[in-house]
Amino acid sequence: MPILNYIILSIALFSIGIVGVLTRRNAIIIFMCIELMLNAVNLLLVAFSKMHMNTAFKAGDLAGTAGTDGQIFVFFIMVVAAAEVSVGLAIIVMMYRNIHSVDVNFLNRLKQ
């Protein structure tokens, strides 16, 4: 599969995530959009990893492990994402408890 297809698919998913962050005001949905963006990046990383493997194959390295690093990175991104979600959801719960809403527009304390 041409790498350009993956690039465009990932950009599309990423941009949908961005649009979600920009248009929605529900903190949980914004959070989910961030997860979507992370996944778009993950997909691209895996695609690139396979692309490198393909290049190495063509060069004759049949038993090689070129491109493994990309997938390891995806793994670590998932690790960090899981940790992030646990803390992030805790923060959202905290916020709901304090202002009885998850609308980010109420979170304008940064102004001060």
Binding site: M1, P2, I3, L4, N5, I7, L9, I11, A12, L13, S15, V19, G20, V21, L22, T23, R24, R25, N26, I28, I29, F31, M32, E35, N39, N42, V46, A47, F48, S49, K50, M51, M53, N54, F57, T65, A66, T68, Q71, I72, F75, F76, M78, V79, V80, A81, A82, A83, V85, S86, V87, L89, A90, I92, V93, M94, R97, S101, V102, D103
Partner: protein, 168 residues
Amino acid sequence: MNITIIDILWWFLSVVAIFSALMMVTSKNPVYSVLWLIATFFAISGHYILLNAQFLAIVNIIVYAGAIMVLFLFVIMLMNLNKETEPQKNRWLKIAGALAGGCLMLILVAALKDAAAKEQVASVNQGNIGLIKNLGKELFTTYVVPFEISSVLFLSAMVGAVVIGKKE
């Protein structure tokens, strides 16, 4: 150009992923959003399988679709947010946001379309670097230190979540 089963699968999964993502963003009810996102994740996992990255496909389903999204659902249910609470205010900001996102997409596509790697091909349905055996070996040899450190990260995230979520 003959269309293989892989091509059909690829396009199908892509369409599902983008459609579900759009539905996730546009759904009024947060619960639906979560469900659409899970669908997106499944589609992405399908892509991983197509790319012969089985380990990541499984992890993606278990961690994302399973653990993380269920966590989201729990939070939504617990806080009783499963209703259409969002008042439609500030329509212009939404349009501006959508336009900005669209612009970003266009410019990224325009910029990357001519990238040097555009002739490259990602090998589909072959190669064994994505297998558990291979990745596991790499993870426990070359990347063993980051791997162990990530456990510390989990521990601190756990502590953090408990501290933040605790009632005073």
